[in-house]
Amino acid sequence: MEFDDITGLVAVLAIFLGLPWVVFHYITKWKTAATLTTQDEDLLDDLHDLARRLDDRVVTIERIMDAENPAWRATSLSDAPETHRLTREPRIQETRR
């Protein structure tokens, strides 16, 4: 008899307090989760489109440069920072003179 009462109490508490609590907990979590506004969506759409178009253009330029000089990647990729510095420094010196 005693146990039945306790079980009933626990069941009622679980159903009428525990369950709504869990449900509302997840609802609030879901509401506060990072969602995109319409502007964000438009912006993301634009950026994605822009990235795709830029990608196409770079691919075109790379193809042209491959046709002109197939080894151009080797010169720029081998030691990119160094060649960068080498190409930049003379210019700076010239402007100083």
Partner: protein, 128 residues
């Protein structure tokens, strides 16, 4: 209600079997549409009997058909928006990495072009 949202659930009546709910779920999440349909049927048989049907009819009654303006042009675009719906943050990072990649490739091209000019200038310098 002015502009149609791309992160909203829509029915997909163009690829429908009955009302387009399963096709809509497949379009929204990126799961295969057959898988969604089989899962729905299995769930119904395995004990969800009236409730899956109730959910199905409620969805088909409440959700709108996908507006024509935001119909994806390419499969690539469809996958992109499925990624956005699954995880906006990851998609934004993906787009940023695409721009970084573009920047790196353009830097390579720039390096090559400018160093090419430099070597040409050196050659002219030698000829003098």
């Amino acid at each position: 209600m002015s502009a149609p949202r791309r992160t909203k659930f829509y029915l997909d009546r163009r690829n429908k079997k009955y009302q387009g709910v399963c096709a809509g779920i497949a379009d929204y999440t990126g799961f295969d549409v057959t898988l969604v349909r089989v899962a729905t049927v299995v769930l119904t048989i395995a004990g969800g009997f009236p409730w899956t049907l109730v959910a199905y009819w409620l969805t088909s009654w409440l959700a709108q058909d996908k507006p024509r303006e935001i119909a994806d042009d390419t499969p690539e675009e469809t996958r992109f928006w499925q990624g956005v719906r699954a995880s906006p943050g990851r998609t934004v990072r993906d787009v940023r990495s695409r721009f970084r990649d573009l920047d790196r490739r353009l830097a390579d091209i720039e390096t090559h072009v400018t160093s090419g000019n430099m070597s040409l200038a050196n050659e002219i310098e030698k000829l003098r």
